[in-house]
């Protein structure tokens, strides 16, 4: 079947089976059940894991088909939010680094939506600096015992499995004493607590591990090689984010140029000029994203340049929410109904913090795009137990 035929068939399947409405951050129990049913259909139709190895439940096709389906799917909204961490990060990591047993056990249920995954790297004391994490895994006769705390974990409240990064050796430098595990989120000692963020809602969770037992066969990669495993996961994360960055999400956004132009007083020349500024910034970023997408299609991999797009999107999000509220005045911040502008200003910092802060993005651009000399590092050689980490009063 040629690519166009593949694309045509994908589209007609989508038209018959997909919604066009918005996906929801937290679909609730009913939503999760519906999402699982949809994933099963998607899998059975052959559109889940399109480029994953056939041996482990994928379709064994190429990136071309994967991309063709994704492009067609952009016009629809698939209820795949709760699976996004598994499909985008955990699954691909197991494909690359999992044991045959792990692949056989986990990949097919993941692709078919039977099991939901989350990723457990960040900690209160290890945000940008993930490798500074403190959660300890101690070897026992038949496996490992884990204690510690993770944070910023999406979909953990629905998750069956987690990809967990732990410290297994404190006597070596921080990057050299980490190990990665598959952890059963239903195991005794795992507590999932919703994390309320500044919007007043719980988009994320905190996870507490209290002497949680993990069987030996759940180790991913080698002991103390967890940092390299995590880099693989983060690479997949970056790919799955950058493929979506800035390409959508503005359509229903009340503070985006197209919405704002209808809600502000363009009779005021100063207001008009501020809308022009917003247009300039939005269009500049949109064109950059389109260029990156065209380059990717042409085989030029954007690499760290995607960090520039992410940084610019974070800044644009903040700029436009700030502008919209300033233009609207008092009613943006005190209202009877609506509150979409207040929501936007509350949510605006999210993109500047999640997936790497603006400072981290600037470091990446400087180091990997411009090849500037690195910051001298004090944390690469010191044994972890002697290293300052987290917050010190």
């Amino acid at each position: 079947m040629d690519l166009e035929e593949y694309r045509r068939r994908a589209r007609s399947w989508l038209e018959a089976n997909a919604r066009r409405s918005r996906d929801e951050d937290d679909p609730g129990a009913d939503g999760v059940a519906a999402a699982k049913a949809f994933m099963a259909d998607l899998y059975d139709a052959g559109y889940s894991g399109i480029s994953w190895p056939a041996e482990w439940g994928g379709q064994g096709l190429s990136q071309a088909e994967e991309r063709a389906f994704a492009e067609e799917a952009k016009d629809f909204t698939l209820p795949t939010y709760v699976f996004s961490i598994g499909l985008g990060m955990c699954g691909p990591t197991l494909v690359d680094l999992g044991t045959p047993g792990q692949k056989a056990r986990h990949l097919r249920p993941l692709l078919r939506g039977e099991e939901i995954w989350c990723q457990l790297f960040s900690e209160p004391g290890a945000g940008s600096d993930v490798a500074a994490l403190q959660t300890r895994a101690t070897e026992t006769e038949d496996g490992w015992v884990v204690s510690g705390q993770k944070v910023w974990t999406s979909v953990a409240q629905h998750a069956d499995w987690g990809l967990l990064l732990t410290r297994t050796d404190v006597d070596v430098p921080k990057h050299k004493g980490l190990s990665m595990f598959v952890v059963d989120m239903h195991a005794p000692g795992v507590t999932v607590r919703p994390l309320r963020d500044m919007t007043g809602r719980a988009h994320f969770n905190e996870i507490f591990f209290d002497d949680v037992h993990i069987p030996a066969e759940n180790l991913v990669g080698r002991v103390n090689d967890g940092w390299n495993c995590a880099v693989t996961t983060l690479l997949h994360e970056r790919l799955s984010i950058s493929s979506g960055v800035g390409m959508g999400g503005q359509k229903d956004n009340p503070v985006a140029f197209e919405a704002l132009r209808h809600t502000v007083d363009t009779g005021d020349p100063l207001v008009r000029d501020q809308l022009v500024e917003l247009y300039i910034r939005s269009r500049a970023l949109a064109l950059f994203n389109q260029r990156l997408a065209q380059e990717t299609k042409a085989g030029i991999f954007p690499g760290a340049r995607g960090s520039a797009a992410k940084l610019l999107l974070a800044e644009l999000s903040m700029f436009q929410a700030d502008l919209a509220t300033s233009l609207a005045g008092p009613e943006a911040v005190a209202y009877e109904d609506g509150g979409r502008l207040a929501d936007s200003i509350s949510l605006a910092p999210a993109l500047s913090l999640g997936g790497g802060t603006n400072e981290i993005m600037r470091n990446i651009i400087g180091d990997r795009v411009l090849n500037l000399p690195p910051e001298p590092r004090v944390d690469k050689t010191v044994p972890f137990k002697d290293l300052k980490t987290g917050t010190r009063q």
């Binding site: 944070v151 609207a328 005190a334 200003i345 944390d379 917050t391 010190r392």
Partner: protein, 326 residues
């Protein structure tokens, strides 16, 4: 022009600062904000009783302290920095308005702290409109004092300060004049700018303190120029904002002719600077700054709410253009 605090003014600042640190620390602010009235009346009783702040600028003949705007700005800076919930700013604005109008009826109870008053700033919206005993409604040069009537609480971005829509029922007329209202609006601008200065300072203090104890990649984050240079720029905003607020307060007290320009400058500069600093403080905290439990978002939301409190910020710039005869 006097831009430096006197010994007495520094004492006043110290007194208010210590009082708020003890009586209304941030965990209490959160509890009060989630309570039914949105604030702790016991704190207000002490604030108005022991410290006499409700009557700070009310003339002595009506039971107030007859202090100046220099002192009021010091107090508002502290209540802003502490994010004191409840109607302190609202009642202060009412006291400013009534004092300028030469009111004799309402001021004594306001100064005594027994009447909670507010001003409908934007047609029928008022800070703490649901909690206030009296709402002063302004229509051109006419001011009416409304008691009772419907009060519809609004949802607010800022969880630490409430607003309400006030039904425009009949009320007692308060003497007024067109020229006086211009000055009143300028005085409101000075008062809000003083609060913004406090919010700005507290936001900066918080991130400076955190930069001294938070480690990333083996180093205190304040040692990275990426953080340090941003904090330096924020400090520059603080220095200028403080200078502008002191000047505006001085003009309110001593140089009525200079007040309009000084007040418009205060809103145009300090309102923006306050939001920028609160925003950057939140962002530089990293992920923890995005959590509900952290205080950064309270300052951020107060800063944005204050920035638009007296109208869209462009009106202050437009007023500057007019006053400068551009």
């Amino acid at each position: 022009m006097n831009l430096v605090l006197t010994e007495e003014q520094r004492e006043l600042r110290g007194t208010v600062r210590s009082f708020l640190a003890a009586a209304s620390p941030l965990p209490d602010v959160r509890r009060a904000a989630e309570s039914e009235s949105g604030y702790d009346p016991a704190v207000y009783r002490r604030l108005n009783g022991e410290l006499g702040l409700a009557g700070l600028i009310v003339p002595q003949e009506y039971g107030g302290a007859g202090a100046g705007y220099a002192e009021l700005a010091i107090v508002l800076e502290e209540t802003g920095a502490a994010l004191l919930p409840g109607p302190f700013l609202a009642t202060t604005l009412a006291a400013i308005l009534l004092t300028e109008l030469g009111d004799k009826e309402l001021l004594p109870d306001i100064a005594a702290g027994t009447t909670v008053a507010t001003v409908a700033l934007d047609g029928d919206r008022a800070l703490n409109g649901a909690e206030a005993d009296v709402v002063l409604m302004v229509d051109g040069a006419r001011v009416r004092a409304v008691r009772g009537g419907g009060r519809t609480p609004l949802t607010t971005l800022d969880p630490t300060r409430r607003q309400a829509r006030v039904e425009a029922v009949a009320g007692e007329a308060v003497a007024s004049s067109e020229a006086g209202m211009e000055r009143v609006r300028d005085l409101f601008a000075v008062a809000v700018a003083a609060e913004q200065l406090g919010v700005l300072r507290a936001s900066l203090d918080a991130i400076v303190a955190y930069s001294r104890i938070r480690v990333a990649f083996g180093r205190l984050i304040g040692s990275y120029q990426g953080v340090k240079h941003k904090l330096a720029d924020m400090h520059c905003k603080l220095e200028q904002a403080e200078s502008i607020v002191r000047n505006a307060a001085w003009a309110a007290d001593e140089a009525p002719g200079e007040l309009p320009l000084a007040a418009a400058l205060a809103q145009a500069y300090v309102g923006r600077a306050c939001f920028e600093v609160a925003r950057d403080s939140l962002l530089l905290h990293g992920g923890i700054g995005f959590t509900w439990e952290h205080d950064a978002h309270l300052y951020y939301k107060r800063a944005k709410s204050d920035e638009v409190l007296l109208g869209p910020p462009r009106i202050h710039r437009a007023r500057l253009a007019d006053l400068l005869e551009l």
